[in-house]
Amino acid sequence: MIHLRINDNPGPGTARQRSLVAAVRPHLLCYGLLLLPIAMVCTFIVIPMVRTVWSSFQAMDARGMAIHFSGWQNYHNLFASTLLQTVLKNTLFYSVLSVVLCLIISFILSIVLNDSRNSSSRFLLIGLFSPTVIPVVAGANIWLYFLAPRFGLLGRILEPFGLGNVNLLGEPTSALCVLVVLFVWKYAPYFTLFLLAALQAIPPDIRDAMRTEDPHHWHSYFKVILPMIAPMIAFVTMMATVYALETVDPVYVMTQGGPGNGTNLIMYYLYQLGFNYFSWGPAAALSTILMVGLSGLSAVSLIILERRAFHWQ
């Protein structure tokens, strides 16, 4: 296949057109085959993305049709609501706690799994990673069942102490903590897989050298291992943050944002803005903010991963 470049220094218009045609003609089949898939991505991702940003600057009717340009009004309305401040506070608390706990647990798990690689039985793996394959909604139901006042196991255990009626989902802070527990339960094993892969990618000769020079491992963990898996830790942190910010399923199933909006997280608020309150303008503004934030995080995490691969191979 010959690769022709577009002439950088074109002469008159016709010559330029001719060179463009000459550049494109050998690749017509490629373009033809790419047309449908790329058009689909553009229709459902790229153009909606542009339209989201555009519509966040428009006043909209109840059906979500743009009426006229309104500048920063939607953003102003969005941030003027006190509910958003509650939501942001909840989301911050939930995300930070979830991500930190997830990181700590998956780090410990990955080290333990890496040490006992030969003895890690199928049973252990199934137990540990079953939450990873279970839908979040089913996981939320499981915990709902587990925590049900009086009826659930927790209620039955606490019954003799006179706490059988305690409803963890009935109080804002404890309900938010239940959501954190659910997130950690669901995702900590998943992130362990990535850290474990990073640990196993460490060349065996480094491992052997460490064993002879520092039999207790402590020093070498911090001086040798940690810097080597640092990019993966950064990647997992970013991914966990994105996942935490995108949490909506357990909120929908377990609390519907309550009690008193105590568990209303940002993605659930976006869903409510659009599909419960039909206030499409502020919803578009919030979508735009989330799009910039989340895709920025994802992009940075992919770049970290790419540079790690580049570094090692």
């Binding site: 470049r5 490629c30 790229v46 909606p48 333990v112 003895s119 139901n141 196991l153 909506v248």
Partner: protein, 263 residues
Amino acid sequence: MAVKRKISVALLGLIAFIWAFPTLWVLYEAFFAQDRGIGFTLQNFSEALYSAPFPQYMVNTVEIALGLLVMQLFFGALVGFILARYDFPLKSLITTICIMQIVIPIYAVLIQDYQLLRSFHLLDTKAGLMLPYAVSGIAVLSFRQAFRSVPRELEEAARMDGYNMPGVFRRVYLPQAIPAVIAFSVISVTYHWTDFLWPLIVTNTSGSRPVVVGLAMVGLATEASMQWNLLAAATAIVILPLLVVFVLATKKILAAFSSTFNW
């Protein structure tokens, strides 16, 4: 060293038990809890099946997940092959669009996609549910990576044997991509089997509703009426098939998860 190993196995066992316990408990209750005492029963399951058309939901989910998998593999192989094998103007733009598909969260364009489907009259259909996901950037980049690692000599040898481009693709490139196909299939099916918010918004009737959304509806209803046994059985219906598959192919599935971003 032996002591240390024993400690880490014990720790692992403890953590694994804690992690598995809620699920085991719900499965146990689904099969054994009755209104009067404890004993094996399928009563909870028949009530759950009566409360919502779970078989229909399950068929929907299978159709959606497998249909999407076929589309994503087809488009992924096509675009991945072209990106790996040919050079042409605007190639980096095509790659950028595929990366955008990965990076832009569907949640951020949810409302626009919803309005798009409404204007296509595709709301509450399985096709509408699938369309935004039909081309997967991860599939494209996985295939690109797999095809890139094929030595050109192999292709030339196949050409000498008289194969044309489709033949070369089928005999030389495709076999090299099998591990990538398996890994991607696991990730894709898991993702779409468990996806929630988009199907919740798009579907309205049992003809198109996937099982996870159905389960959430049942969950809300049973929570309100405190029919906890029914909730346990409905949850068991949804997770048992997944757990059976996971038990049968534990290591393969875990390996696929950890290779999600290896491209």
